[in-house]
Amino acid sequence: MRRSFFCPSCGARVEFMWSSSVQTTCEYCHSILVRRDVDLTLVGKVSDLPPDVSPIQIGTEGRIKNQNFTVAGRIIYEYDGGAWNEWHLILSDGNSAWLSDAQAQYAVTVERAITPLPDQAEVYPGKRYKWDSVIYEATAITHANYRGVQGELPFEYWDKERATFVDLRAPSGGFATLDYSDEVPKLYVGDILDFDLLQMTNLRTFEGWS
């Protein structure tokens, strides 16, 4: 199901590797391209990305809960604790998941459509919520800056500024994020996982750190 286009900005060939992807970036000129009809629309451009020390890259493969995944794209954020990536994973069943690498801790989450979700103003660290009969406690509220995108994403996402995230943890070991970067909050639930558990291949290699 690969579809090839030409970048409306520079003419480079742009491929959508995944049929579920809505947005991608031109690897050559870093234009942000959105697939709305049959053609690509140029919606913006990614400025220079911050230095990247994540071992994950587009094309990295791994395993999560008996499914294989491939990294298709990412959203990059910055906050006063540094930069982090939300890597867009395509699972072997075709669904999307997200792998965040903040502080070199790896959390894999999937979007969970639960309504209503709490307003940002009412959340504070220590507050507890129960979703899918799991108790979560808000542990950190992060005000981040959207820094850029790369590769394929399952929705249109560009031209953001501030984004607020609430991290929640469950006594049973679960992890969740409330994403307030859009008008309607989104909930992602999953786990923080050990690097080795993800069995990732096609990682970036660091000299002297093989």
């Binding site: 060939r13 911050p50 890259q57 006063d80 750190w209």
Partner: protein
């Protein structure tokens, strides 16, 4: 690139692994002009100038000074030099940051060292050191549950040890978070040796780390440090007890051993011959006119292996006493086993009610008597003024020595008591430094 000329589609960067060292940057300290290397650009948030100790913003292109020079630069040196790599817990890590923090308890300042270890794949972990005691700490991914004075995490219960305010005194190297000298954090430690769960709260944000007690010698080996690791001083909050096994395990072993010994004795009794060779009742009416009241029993045979002989005396003494001189004599060799037994029993009433003293019966064991033909010589002596005393002499062979069982019980009791005492005194020393000392000293009275 012109849009009118269809360009050759530029070759998109291939999706092959990128390689290269993590981006390194060398900047100049705006405070002293010294050059500062940032080894993990992008991850490192703050970096400390090695010359003047100013804390710099590693994320800022201009590497702005966040906090000025530190006095302790050059005086406080980390024992793991920053930049040292070592294989720690099976993975390569580099020591990238160092900080000294302290708490103040009853006017006394306790300070410890913290090392930030980094691996670009596996992330951060920390080594802490206090008076030669080391801990390997990792971020807690789940949420410990607080239940009273305990914190439960992954099914393990940790007991509250101390609540204090940790103050950052000195920093060096690279940090993945904002760090300043003078930073204050509320710290609560919960221990379950060899683990310590530590909660830190800064401005409402709560983070947990899990520390595991490790040996300084392991740190020395992993990072190839010169010399030997200094011996730890005192007892640390999550130091495992040196007796190894917990007191519960020791006492469980004790109960098992006592049961095993009990079974052996029970079987011994079941198998014991308990051969009654004499069972005769006599009357003592007073000293014999001849002056010699002794007599002998008929000859009897003691069979089997060399073993015990029980001489049992059962009397009807009431406010009387009788003394029996026994001699167990081998009829063939003349070898004699002498023993004297006193049996006395007194009872009555007084202002406190009824009382009694002594016993009507007595039992004595003659150990290690070889088989053979024997007789018993008996010489009674007593007080028959209140009437005659009836007494029965019972001689039996191979009686299970219950006193030995008691001795075994007592001997078995020694190790668990010693170990429990050692464990107890170790725990007392551990908790003496906590908010919950086992023995209260006068200075703790205000708790």
């Amino acid at each position: 690139m012109s849009a009118s000329i269809p360009p050759l589609p530029p070759q998109a960067p291939a999706r092959t692994p990128q390689t290269g060292a993590p981006p390194v940057r060398t900047v100049f300290c705006q405070n002293c002009g010294g050059s500062v290397k940032i080894n993990f650009v992008g991850r490192t948030v703050n970096v400390v100038c090695g010359s003047c100790g100013s804390i710099l913003d590693a994320a800022d292109p201009n590497v702005r000074v966040l906090q000025g020079a530190q006095d302790a630069i050059g005086k406080d040196t980390p024992v793991i030099p920053l930049g040292t790599r070592g294989k720690w817990r099976g993975q390569l890590y580099e020591a990238i940051g160092y900080q000294k923090r302290s708490i103040t308890v009853e006017g006394q300042i306790y300070s410890w060292a913290e090392y930030v270890l980094f691996n670009p794949y596996r992330g951060y972990r920390y080594l802490t050191e206090y008076d030669g005691h080391w801990n390997d700490a990792t971020p807690v991914t789940g949420l410990p549950e607080l239940l009273g004075t305990r914190a439960v995490y992954l099914g393990r219960s940790h007991k509250h040890f101390q609540t204090a305010t940790a103050v950052t005194r000195f920093v060096l190297g690279e940090f993945p978070w904002q760090v300043r000298v003078g930073d204050r954090a509320g710290v609560k430690d919960y221990v379950s040796p060899p683990y310590v769960l530590s909660q830190e709260s800064v401005e409402g944000e709560i983070t947990w780390t899990l520390g595991e007690y490790v040996l300084g010698s392991d740190v020395w080996r992993a990072f190839n440090l010169p010399g030997k690791a200094p011996a730890p001083v005192g007892v640390y909050l999550n130091q495992p007890s040196p007796s190894g096994a917990s007191w519960k395990e020791v006492w469980l072993a004790f109960v098992m051993l006592v049961m095993a010994v009990g079974i052996v004795f029970f079987l011994d009794e079941a198998l014991a011959g308990k051969d009654k060779v004499v069972d005769t009742t006599y009357r003592y009416t007073g000293p014999a006119a001849s002056g010699d009241s002794s007599f002998v029993t008929p000859v009897f045979e003691l069979k089997g292996r060399t073993s015990d002989v029980e001489i049992r005396t059962e009397t009807d003494a009431s406010n009387q006493w009788i003394f029996l001189n026994y001699a167990l004599i081998n009829n063939d060799t003349g070898q004699a086993y002498d023993l004297g037994r006193e049996v006395s029993y007194y009872s009555g009433y007084d202002s406190d009610g009824s009382w009694s003293e002594g016993s009507k019966n007595d039992s004595a064991l003659v150990p290690s008597v070889p088989s053979g033909r024997y007789y018993l010589r008996v010489e009674p002596e007593g007080d028959a003024s209140l009437g005659p005393i009836r007494y029965t002499v019972i001689v039996s062979r191979d009686v299970p020595p219950w006193s030995l069982f008691l001795a075994a019980f007592g001997l078995l009791l020694v190790p668990p008591i010693l170990m429990s005492w050692r464990t107890f005194s170790f725990e007392r020393r551990r908790w003496a430094e906590s908010d919950h000392p086992m023995v209260k000293t006068s200075s703790d009275d205000d708790d």
